[in-house]
Symmetry: C2
Subunit: 185 residues, 2 copies
DNA sequence: TCCTCCATACCAACCAGTCTGTTTTGTAGT
DNA sequence: ACTACAAAACAGACTGGTTGGTATGGAGGA
């Protein structure tokens, strides 16, 4: 069972960094130091099954990660900014995207594979739910909270894209600064 | 010269829909009804050269497109909403993304090819410039205008991503509705 | 003896890119 | 206006490498 988790762990990172099509099976095998037989033992349906497992794994990790941050701070504003701050740190340290995003996977696979599209959809929904709940707890109407939560998700996702193209964490920083202006009924 | 433009035209659409790695040369050739020799005659350096040509072509098309919309409407708010409205229409009609975005290409290629990353960066910068200029003309300070322009770009980019995963134009609609709340000094 | 787990050899399909040869086209000479 | 010729444009076969996926067999514990 350990091997399976190892595969998921490493493959998740690779998929996030290079996208689904950008990572070959052999690359994954080498990174994990396992053989093809082992991989296909744990994921008989192959690469796509592995991807979905990775997405589910990300789902749990990202969710608990964000939830923890959101428990630590009282207001959504503080929590959001702390969260983006963490993203900025990660980006500046590793110079690549390692969390909270799967745009590459979405844009590659959304039109190709329904199961993958669905897994991504679940992930976004869950994250938005965290934002939304906190906003409702602060007194926002459910509808407004959902709208703002969507804006947070979208702008972070797009912001990461801009950071990638500009090789700079500036876009996320600006977003972190501007976003709170939306937190009004 | 006609063939070259044809190739760029068709390849641009394919790249937008499926990403760089998602489109094979043979697929492009078939879609254009041309031969490999012809393609490599116009793009001696191969696929990546073609991609960059496509990005430049998108640059011009998208830029003039947005500029026209922004001339038609007096306020940035109206213009932005009209622009997003057009995106929504496109998405609902074709059920795929056809303009104003190249996230798939960015996320796939940003870390792999400097020239491509640069072409993408130019594109984003140019689009943001249009937003920013209009905002400055409305009286915003340059810094605020840049921040808001960045937020527009990021949220639209992320919004398209959400539309793709949810197979719905709702995210963009909500963004169009919420975005104007940012238009304050 | 099974069954889980892993390793390896192998496969057809496809990839981007090269090479050679043919057609088309523009141009200069008479 | 007709020919001659070179360059541009195109066609298609071919290559080496890689892709995801399969089939077979072995090691080790229950």
């Amino acid at each position: 069972m350990n091997t399976k988790l190892l595969i998921i762990d490493i493959a998740t990172t690779l998929f996030q960094q290079k996208g689904y099509l950008g990572v070959g099976l052999n690359e994954i095998l080498k990174a994990c130091n396992i053989s093809k037989g082992s991989l296909y033992h744990h994921f008989p349906k192959g690469k796509e099954e592995l991807l979905i497992a990775c997405l589910q794994s990300m789902n749990e990790e990202v969710t608990t990660d964000i939830e923890e941050i959101f428990k630590q701070y009282q207001t959504t504003q503080e929590a959001t900014q702390a969260m983006i701050g963490k993203l900025v740190e990660d980006f500046e340290r590793e110079d690549t995207i390692a969390g909270y995003t799967f745009s590459s996977i979405v844009s590659e696979m959304a039109s190709l594979s329904e199961p993958v599209r669905n897994a991504c959809s679940l992930l976004y929904t869950k994250i938005q739910g965290i934002y939304s709940n906190k906003l409702v707890a602060e007194g926002f109407s459910k509808e407004t909270a959902n709208s703002i939560a969507l804006m947070i998700t979208a702008s972070i996702e797009g912001g990461l894209m801009l950071c990638l193209t500009q090789k700079s964490s500036n876009p996320l920083k600006i977003i972190s600064h501007v976003l709170p202006n939306l937190f009004k009924e």
